[in-house]
Symmetry: C2
C-alpha cells in the first residue's frame, strides 16, 4: 500500500479489522459508506428507515433505477458489488422508537468485527435533531466514540464533529454548533421545511468525515473535534469544546467523572489498570433515556425560544439558543478558539 | 428549486444552459462529472484516453464490472442513467499529441451548448504535468477560463485553482502551486512512481472544485482563485496570484495586455465595445505551442533542478523550483496572502 510506503500510515491493512456503524444513508451517509467500502473497512452497519426517491438524484450515490427500494438495501447491493470483502449488516428502521433504540444499542455494543464486541465508531449522518439526540444518548450510555455530521438547509454549509464521551462536549452539552451562515436561516432541519441540497457540499462533508475516521482508526494526522465548511466563502473553521459539567445527559456527566478519575490516576499509574477499565461492562438503565427528556420541548417551543449566543470562534454559531429564564445557556462550557480572528477572516475575504 | 427560494442563487435553472469540458475522468474527474450531472448541467465534454482498472476501485465512481472499458465510455453510460437530460460528448484520446491537441482546441472552442460556440468552462482533472500544460496552452490561446485540480502523490493534500487568462497567473507563469506537505515528497505525479490514493481526498477536491464551478456559472458566493486542502491538519489555505508579465506563454502575455487595455478603457467607456471584443476570432498559431517548449526539459533535469522557493502564504508551496542560473524564478509575480500567519496556524494546531 502506497500510503504506508510514503510514511503517512504505519499499518494501513489494519483498516480491515474495524467495524463502523453509519446512521442515516442519505446524501452524506451513502457517500460515507461508499468511501469506507472502497478504503477496505472490515464491517459496515447501516441504519436508515427511508426509501430511495427520484427527488434524491441531486445527491451522489443512489441511481434512478433504485427508486422505491429501501436505502439500506439499495446501498448494500451497490457496496457489495464494489467490495465483496466488506461485511454488511443493514437495519431498515427508525432508531428513535423505543423498541428500535434498544436494538440499535444492542448492535452498536455487540455488532463489532467479533460478535459481542462493540463497533469501533458510530457515524451520525442523519438530518434531524431527534435522531442525533438518540445517537448521543446511546453513545454516552455505552461510552462509545462517535462523529456527527450535518449540512445546512440552504445546502451551502456543513460540519463534522467528534464526540468522545466524557472528554469532548456531547450533543446535549450545549445547543448544536453550526457554521455561521450570515443569513437569516434555521440551519437544522425541521419537519415540513423543504431543504435545498447540493452534491458538492454533501461530498465535501462526507470526504472530511471519512478522512477524520481514517485518521482516528489508523492513527495519523491531526483529528478534528469540530470542522466547519462555509461553501459561500470557502472558509473552514475548526474548534474543540469541553463537556458541560451540568449536561442534562446523566451518562455524559458520569463519563466526565470517569475521565477525570482516569486523568488523576495517570499521575500514580498502576500496571494493567487502563486495559481493565476498557473492558468494563456497560450497565443499561432503561428509564434514563435522554430522548424522552428532549421530547418535553415541542418543536413549536423550540422555534419560539431565543436567548444569548455563546462566545464562539468566528464562523461558528449555535443552531438555536435557549431563553435564560428556562435554562442557563450552557454554563461552564469551555470553548477553545481555532485562532482565527475577525481581522484574519476579513483579510482572507478581501484577497479573493 | 429550494436554493433559489432560500436566496442563495438567483436563477438556478440557468445551469441547464452551460457546457463544461472535463479533461481526465479519474479519481477527481469522474466525481466532478457525476456532481455536475446531478446538478443538471447542460452539456459535458469528457476527455480521457485511459481504461478502467480494478486498481482504481479505491477511488469513487467506477465499478468493478466496468474494468477494461474506456473511462469516458463507462462514465457516459453511468451518467446518462443518472440524468438523461444532460448532453454528453466523449473523446477517448490523449490531448497532448499534436493531432489530438488540435481536435481538443476545436471542441472546447466550438463544442458549447450551441455548436460553434465555446464551452463555458474547462476543468483539468489530470494527474500529470504535460496534460496540464497542454490545457494551459489551449486556454491561453482561446482566452478560455479554466480550473485546475490536483491531489498529491501521498494522497493527503490537494488543491483547486481558477485560471482566467490575462487576469490570474496561468500554469506557465510560475512553478505550480501545491499544498505544503511538511514532508520530503515530490507532489506532482511523475512517470514510474506509484501514487497513493484516497477516495476521501479526491471527493473533497472534486466537491470544492464543482462548488467553485457552480459559484462561477451561477454567480453566487466568493469564487476561490486558489484553495488548498491539507488533510493531515484539516487546513485549507487560500490565495490568488497575478499573471507573470514575463510568462513563457506568448498568449498569456497577449491576454495580459488585452486585460490591461480593457481595464484602461473602462475609464473612458464606449457602448458595445466590450461585447464586440468577446466575439473576437481566435487565431491559432501552429508553431507556438507551449507544450513543445516544456518538453525541452527532461524529467531527469527537472528532478535534479532546484532553486529558491518564492515567498508564498503559509501552507502553500511550489511543486518544484528552477535553478536561478537557468531562469529567474517567476520574476514580477505578485502574490496576495490569504491573511493566515504562522502564529494563526500554530494556534489552530495547538487547540486541536
Amino acid at each position: 500500500m502506497a500510503l504506508k510506503r510514503m510514511g503517512i500510515v504505519r499499518d494501513y491493512e489494519k483498516i480491515r479489522t474495524f467495524a463502523v456503524a453509519i446512521v442515516g444513508v442519505g446524501g452524506v451517509g451513502s457517500v460515507t459508506a461508499e468511501m469506507l467500502t472502497r478504503c477496505g473497512i472490515g464491517k459496515l452497519l447501516l441504519f436508515d428507515y427511508d426509501k430511495v426517491e427520484l427527488a434524491n438524484m441531486n445527491r451522489l450515490f443512489f441511481q434512478p433505477h433504485q427508486a422505491g427500494l429501501s436505502k439500506v438495501q439499495a446501498a448494500e447491493h451497490t457496496l457489495r458489488n464494489i467490495n465483496p470483502d466488506v461485511l454488511f449488516e443493514v437495519h431498515n428502521y427508525n432508531i428513535t422508537t423505543v423498541e428500535n433504540f434498544q436494538h440499535f444499542m444492542d448492535r452498536i455494543s455487540g455488532g463489532g468485527m467479533e460478535e459481542g464486541r462493540p463497533v469501533d465508531l458510530v457515524l451520525s449522518c442523519v438530518d434531524n435533531f431527534e435522531a442525533r439526540m438518540a445517537i448521543n444518548t446511546a453513545c454516552n450510555e455505552l461510552g462509545q466514540t462517535w462523529m456527527e455530521s450535518g449540512v445546512s438547509e440552504n445546502a451551502v454549509s456543513g460540519h463534522i464533529q467528534l464526540m468522545v464521551p466524557g472528554q469532548s462536549a456531547c450533543f446535549a452539552c450545549a445547543p448544536p454548533l453550526v457554521v455561521a451562515a450570515n443569513m437569516d436561516e434555521k440551519t437544522l432541519k425541521r419537519d415540513g421545511v423543504c431543504a435545498a441540497s447540493l452534491p458538492t457540499t454533501m461530498g465535501v462533508v462526507a470526504g472530511v468525515l471519512v478522512q477524520n475516521v481514517l485518521k482516528f482508526l489508523l492513527n495519523f494526522g491531526t483529528i478534528s473535534f469540530y470542522l466547519g465548511y462555509n461553501a459561500m466563502q470557502d472558509f473552514f473553521p475548526t474548534m474543540s469544546m469541553k463537556p458541560n459539567p451540568q449536561c442534562n445527559d446523566r451518562n455524559c456527566r458520569r463519563r466526565q467523572e470517569e475521565h477525570e478519575r482516569k486523568a488523576a490516576e495517570q499521575h500514580t499509574p498502576e500496571a494493567g489498570q487502563g486495559e481493565e477499565e476498557e473492558e468494563e461492562e456497560v450497565v443499561h438503565e432503561d428509564n434514563e433515556w435522554g430522548i424522552e427528556l428532549v421530547s418535553e420541548v415541542s418543536e413549536e417551543e423550540l422555534r419560539r425560544s431565543s436567548g444569548p449566543v455563546p462566545d464562539l470562534p468566528k464562523g461558528i454559531t449555535v443552531a438555536y439558543t435557549l431563553p435564560t429564564q428556562h435554562q442557563d445557556p450552557a454554563p461552564g462550557v469551555a470553548v477553545e478558539d481555532s485562532g482565527e480572528s475577525l481581522e484574519d477572516l476579513m483579510a482572507k475575504m478581501k484577497n479573493l
